[in-house]
């Protein structure tokens, strides 16, 4: 790697709660490393209205496979580590499929229509999955996500295990980014800088945001590095691959409007909810604990 002579903005966020295990590594920089036994499940969150199971196995998700057209934006190198709780401690999980999907710099998702999103059906940019290696890692090259009215900056992710074509485990959640860094990027970097009045303007104003899902990140001028350490407990979830709150009646789903224009109309009444499963109750308890 060559030394860059150009002076570029450079900021690092090391204090974000980069997952239950992430803080271990950061603390260890000062010699305060903690043991793996403290690993805690990653919080489930809604998949939102724009999940599409594209089955696109690729690291660089910036382009539409049909046209090879690359979405403009600040390059983001995102690493996700997946650990599994086994016998009360954590170990790297190999062979898990990790999908990510997010909006472009203008706030739109690909391959969907409606719910505030422009019609992008047939396009498949900013979507893809990787399979965790023996170290539990996947790596994506994408762009820093844009924003849309009603949600803070986020990237959706889904961790699945398969037995053949059958999903044997599923965890769906979202990653978040440091507010001040997002604000600076949006203010100074095209094409983000052409859009004004981000709302909500901070993570805490977002109804879905959870601080345990903040990435550890650095903005090094012409690119961003971000990482998150996820922890799954497949024993808990293996009974039902849809244990995460992806159901359309979930509060998170109704609050995740999707990309594009503001959506301030009243929300439709949710369909009658089935009797909550123990896992759903667990998620609700987590929400309540977060206030």
């Amino acid at each position: 790697m060559e030394h860059r002579e150009t002076i570029l903005p450079r900021r690092t966020v090391l204090l974000g709660a980069a997952g239950a295990l992430g803080s271990a590594g950061l603390a260890s920089l000062t010699g305060l490393g903690k043991a793996l036994g403290e690993c805690v499940n990653t919080v489930n969150q809604t998949e939102g209205p724009f999940w599409v199971d594209e089955r696109l196995n690729r690291r660089d998700i910036r382009s539409d496979p049909a046209t090879s057209e690359v979405k403009p934006g600040l390059p983001l190198r995102l690493s996700i580590n997946v650990s599994e709780i086994t016998g009360g401690s954590c170990a790297p999980l190999a062979g898990a499929h990790v999908d990510i999907w997010h909006c472009d710099a203008a706030g739109g998702y690909s391959d969907v229509s409606g719910a505030g999103n422009p019609n992008t059906v047939g396009q498949r940019w900013l979507r893809g999955y990787q399979v965790t290696d023996a170290h539990g890692n996947v790596r994506f090259l994408t762009i820093y996500p844009g924003w849309y009215m009603g949600r803070t900056v986020h990237i959706h992710f889904r961790i699945r295990r398969f037995s053949g074509e059958a999903v044997t485990f599923n965890l769906t959640s979202q990653l978040y980014f440091d507010d001040s860094m997002s604000n600076e990027i949006y203010a100074s970097t095209p094409p983000y800088s052409s859009r004004l009045n981000r709302s909500p303007s901070s993570n805490v104003q977002d109804n879905i945001f959870n601080p345990t899902l903040l990435t550890r990140m650095a903005w090094n001028g012409d690119h961003v590095l971000a990482a998150y350490d996820a922890v799954v407990d497949s024993e808990v979830a293996s009974a039902d691959p849809r244990v995460t709150p992806t159901d359309e009646d979930s509060l998170e789903h109704r609050l995740d409007f999707g990309g594009g224009s503001p959506r301030i109309a009243s929300l439709p009444a949710p369909p009658r909810a089935p009797a909550p499963s123990p896992d759903r109750l667990r998620f609700q308890n987590q929400k309540e604990a977060l206030g």
């Binding site: 790697m1 793996l36 090094n220 990482a227």
Partner: protein, 281 residues
């Protein structure tokens, strides 16, 4: 006094003198080599691996880094650099380390020597590994603990020659970072002319080949001055001295011996020692 007891006394005297030398003992700023290996990252071509550590106290100088490496190809060599931190990724080049003379085909601690690289207290540095030729494996551990004030679980990977990095902070690569505690002088073992980490017949042969047959120049000529007379070139005396010691019960090399250390003889500076020997961490 027979030859054995004389040598024993001299050895003890050498060790005592080493302890009294002004250089502080080496210390490990980062060490997780004793953790159980859980896997290995494979490295070849444009692949790069880097592990972060933070500088220790003011005045520390880097003496060596030891990686648990295996060379899985028939041949090849590896290179290690120290780089500054650019925000969760390696930045500017700080130093290029001296590679070992050989590599094991199975995972073994493999030391790269540093020429007393000064480290800024509290700053983050990166140990960057690349395969110059061939394929290497750097082991990692599922244990996120380690010793030393500069220990970190942060590590990076690149598959495009370091143009773009991905950052990780779990299950660190296995590494030891040794600092010299303020000494800025290269450390060596007197008599270890070929920097193999041991004193044997090959050291004498290496010196003779350099002096009389156009062999490679020792990176630490002071180490070849076994008798400490300030001379190591143009004569056979040091080679003979080593052979006498090794096989005929002759006197041992002068300090630094039997442990590594900086040169203290008047002639050492003139002879020169470009970098600390890899085995002198």
């Amino acid at each position: 006094m027979n030859a054995f007891s004389f040598r024993t006394v001299e050895t003890l005297l050498g060790a005592a003198l080493l302890l009294l030398s002004p250089a502080l003992p080496a210390a490990d700023l980062f060490d997780n080599l004793d953790r159980s290996a859980a896997g290995a990252e494979v490295l070849s071509g444009e692949g790069r691996l880097a592990a972060a550590f933070s500088g220790g106290s003011t005045g520390d100088t880097l003496q060596s880094v030891t990686l648990v490496l295996a060379r899985t190809s028939a041949g090849g060599s590896a290179a290690v650099e120290i780089r500054s931190d650019e925000g969760l990724e390696p930045g500017a080049l700080v130093a290029t380390l001296t590679p070992p003379g050989s590599y094991s085909s199975s995972p073994q601690p493999t030391t790269f020597g540093a020429d007393a690289v000064p480290l800024e207290a509290g700053a983050t540095y990166w140990v960057n590994l690349r395969a110059v030729e061939g394929t290497f494996e750097w082991t990692w551990t599922a244990d996120n603990t380690g010793s030393g004030g500069g220990f970190s679980t942060l590590w990076d990977s690149s598959d495009d020659g370091g143009a773009g990095w991905y950052t990780h902070d779990l299950y660190p690569l296995q590494l030891r970072v040794t600092v010299g505690g303020g000494s800025d002088e290269p450390r060596f073992l007197r008599g270890d002319c070929d920097a193999s980490g041991a004193i044997d017949l090959t050291d004498a042969v290496f010196l003779l080949l350099f002096n009389f047959a156009g062999g490679p120049r020792p990176t630490c000529l002071a180490a070849c001055d076994s008798d400490g007379d300030g001379q190591a070139t143009g004569a056979v005396t040091d080679a003979v001295y080593l052979l006498m010691y090794a096989f005929l019960g002759g006197s041992p090399p002068v300090q630094p011996f039997p442990g590594c250390g900086p040169g203290t003889d008047p002639g050492d500076e003139a002879l020169g020692c470009e970098v600390s020997q890899p085995g002198c961490a």
